[in-house]
């Protein structure tokens, strides 16, 4: 076996792979009653954002099975193609193009992170494919691109909710610490923007490395400024480390966190230090204690119990974003009565009162997120569990 032969073989295999559509083609065999709906999903199942993508992927699989068992959407069976982007923007780009041009999907759910979403926003817009992003950045829907929507709540509402609570608690002077991810920086920007109008003074604002394992240095700086509360806007693992460090430093002021705190595991990781943390969140985590007549109660309870019994792990709000994306798509298809892209897109924009995990969606041509301030509830941690803040 000589060198040239190996090269020739590899090249031939390559060409065969590429040329296969030429020979594949033809009919699919059995005729289906109605055309299957192809939906793509780009999620960061592994890699740096896996705490977002893994629950999202599981939620989508769960919903897919349930939907198809119930006969599909409007009678069409649903086909879901999940791609693991590992939180890498160039993979997201490559997969997006694949899904749009090759698989010709009706819509793409995801990506999990803001960076990836922004990278494929233009691609989806030009490719006239609906994008239902599960990432939080405001820029995804502002400026509005007609095909691009997002399901997580607005960061600005989270900030406003926090400030409103602080007003009730008579807190005026705070310290802000954020992680150096887009999420953290975005949060910092929102906090700084809305603080003055709520009469809150930000005495100190620091950005730390999101992978840091010990934040006593930063917190010592904050402590020195005599603040009445601390706001931490970050992702895992910092959100569990900050409360621990604070207690170890003897800082007993209230700690507010962002809506990224939405998983009971973070509470467990922080142990006793998590008592009393206050943060805005969708109502998913306190589904059980909602009053029975709350419009979201049924959806939340059924999602929570199904997810937890199926996967044996606690539900998180991030999986909820994928849930919302899916049901929005479903509702739009049913409303439009067709699976033609422009019709479905228009239907999404006209959706009102869709009950999701993050809140109740009211879309419009100018608001491609559809959630308002009331989608947030202030939660706190008591005895190691999430409860509503009184």
């Amino acid at each position: 076996m000589n060198k040239t032969l190996v090269i020739m073989l590899t090249v031939c295999v390559f060409i065969a792979m590429i040329g296969s559509p030429l020979f594949a083609g033809g009919g699919k065999g059995e005729a289906v009653a109605k055309e299957p709906i192809k939906v793509g999903a780009i999620v960061a199942v592994t890699g740096g954002a896996s705490w977002l993508g893994a629950p999202e992927a599981k939620t989508l699989e769960m919903l897919l099975e349930d939907t198809n068992a119930a006969g599909g959407i409007d009678g069409h069976p649903v086909e879901l193609i999940v791609k693991d982007s590992q939180a890498s923007a160039e993979k997201a780009v490559s997969f997006a193009k694949q899904l749009i041009e090759e698989e010709k999907v009706l819509a793409i759910i995801g990506p999990s992170t803001s960076g990836e979403s922004m990278a494929i926003k233009d691609i989806c817009q030009e490719g006239k494919t609906i994008l239902l992003s599960c990432a939080a950045a405001e820029t995804i829907v502002d400026p509005v691109a007609s095909y691009v929507f997002k399901t997580p709540q607005k960061d600005s509402y989270a900030a406003i909710k926090i400030f409103q609570t602080m007003n009730v608690m008579h807190i005026k002077r705070i310290g802000v610490v954020v992680g150096n991810t887009g999420f953290g920086q975005g949060g910092k920007a929102q906090l700084e923007k809305y603080a003055p109008e709520h009469g809150i003074e930000i005495a100190i604002a620091e950005v730390y490395d999101s992978g840091a394992t010990d934040l006593t240095g930063v917190l010592t700086k904050v402590k020195a400024r005599n603040v009445e509360a601390v706001v931490n806007w970050s992702i895992v693992p910092a959100q569990s480390i900050v409360p621990k460090n604070m207690r170890q430093l003897g800082m007993n002021v209230p700690l507010f966190q962002s809506h990224g705190f939405g998983n009971i595991k973070y509470v467990e990781a922080a142990g006793e230090a998590a008592e009393g943390i206050i943060f805005p969140c969708g109502r998913l985590l306190v589904a059980d204690v909602l009053p029975a007549d709350h419009p979201q109660k049924d959806v939340l309870v059924s999602y929570k119990s199904e997810y937890e019994s199926r996967y044996g792990e606690d539900v998180s709000t991030f999986g909820g974003h994928a849930y919302d994306a899916f049901i929005i798509l479903k509702a739009a298809i049913e409303k439009a009565g067709s699976i033609e892209t422009t019709a479905v897109r228009g239907a999404i924009e006209s959706l009102q009162g869709v009950v999701g995990t993050a809140g109740i969606f009211n879309m419009s041509a100018r608001d491609h997120n559809g959630l308002g301030l009331d989608s947030f509830e202030m939660l706190t941690v008591k005895d190691g569990k999430f409860v509503l803040l009184q």
Binding site: W51, N180, T213, G217, K221, K244, R247, Q248, K265
Partner: protein, 278 residues
């Protein structure tokens, strides 16, 4: 804390001339195993078990990848250990999934705090320091007094001479891997309550450890401890001065500066730092 990782590097380096990039993974692996076991075993037993299992992994690495290579170049070995570290990381991902976990605190809880010289620290920090000190002391005794320890030192000084004396060099290599793995696992369990454990933390730990090892002079464990303190102080200092996002860059910059200007580190001597033959 970084010193422990650096010592792990040093041990393997001393006996084999290899830099083991998978050292960071040993810490995380030990931590993960300890966490899984601690849910149904008492804590000290879980930790001991974690150490033993990781030692086994260390030996396995040597057997599978290193032992039977014939006169490999240093380059090849580095690349191999990098590959191994990635494989271990991916394996941990698929065995334990992506969540962040923590081990219980050895004493006290998350909020207990001890006031020492005006600074508040968690008792777990004392545990870490204590364990590090014990490890360093035990190692120096080991290398000086026991037969195996002395054999390892003989290997590192001069391989051929050691072989002539009847010391099986390849066995020493295996042993050094096991020892490094054990130290790594113990350290991983000790720091888990403080820093939490996630499958992909191994790489950054390894880099910091390597920085400390080089800073102290590769192969010099006592100096590594001092270097560890130096790096820690440097980081604490830079938190006060620089925008926090760049802190990690600081330790890497330190690494580069040392490598460029004084590869033998603060305490090593020039000849000793010339690359060892495998």
């Amino acid at each position: 804390m970084y010193a422990i990782i650096a010592i792990g590097f040093n041990i393997i380096y001393n006996t084999t001339g290899i830099i083991n990039f998978a050292q960071g993974e040993f810490l995380i692996l030990g931590g993960m195993i300890g966490i899984s076991l601690s849910s149904f075993l008492p804590l000290p037993v879980a930790i001991a078990a974690a150490v033993i299992v990781t030692m086994g992994v260390g030996a396995l690495i040597d057997f599978l990848f290193i032992r039977w290579l014939k006169r490999p170049s240093v380059l090849r070995l580095i690349v191999i250990t990098i590959g191994v570290s990635i494989l271990i990381r991916e394996a941990m991902l698929h065995i334990w999934d992506e969540k962040v976990r923590t081990l219980r605190y050895f004493s006290g809880t998350e909020i207990s705090s001890v006031k020492i010289l005006g600074a508040y620290i968690s008792p777990q920090v004392l545990w870490v320091l204590g364990i590090s000190a014990v490890i360093v002391a035990a190692l120096s005794l080991f290398f000086r007094l026991t037969l195996v320890g002395r054999a390892m030192r003989a290997c590192s000084d001069n391989r051929t001479a050691a072989r002539l004396c009847g010391i099986r060099a390849s066995r020493m290599v295996t042993f050094s891997f096991m020892l490094s793995a054990a130290i790594g696992a113990l350290a991983g369990c000790a720091i888990s309550p403080l820093t939490q454990t996630q499958y992909n933390m191994g790489a950054s730990l390894a880099i910091k450890g390597f920085t400390v090892a080089i800073l102290g002079g590769l192969g010099n464990s006592a100096a590594a401890v001092i270097a560890g303190l130096v790096l820690g102080l440097l980081e604490a200092f830079s938190i006060a001065v620089l925008p926090l996002a760049y802190i990690d860059a600081v330790s890497i910059a330190v690494l580069l500066v040392i490598l460029f200007f004084r590869p033998s580190g603060l305490f090593g001597n020039r000849e000793a730092s010339a690359l060892k033959e495998f």
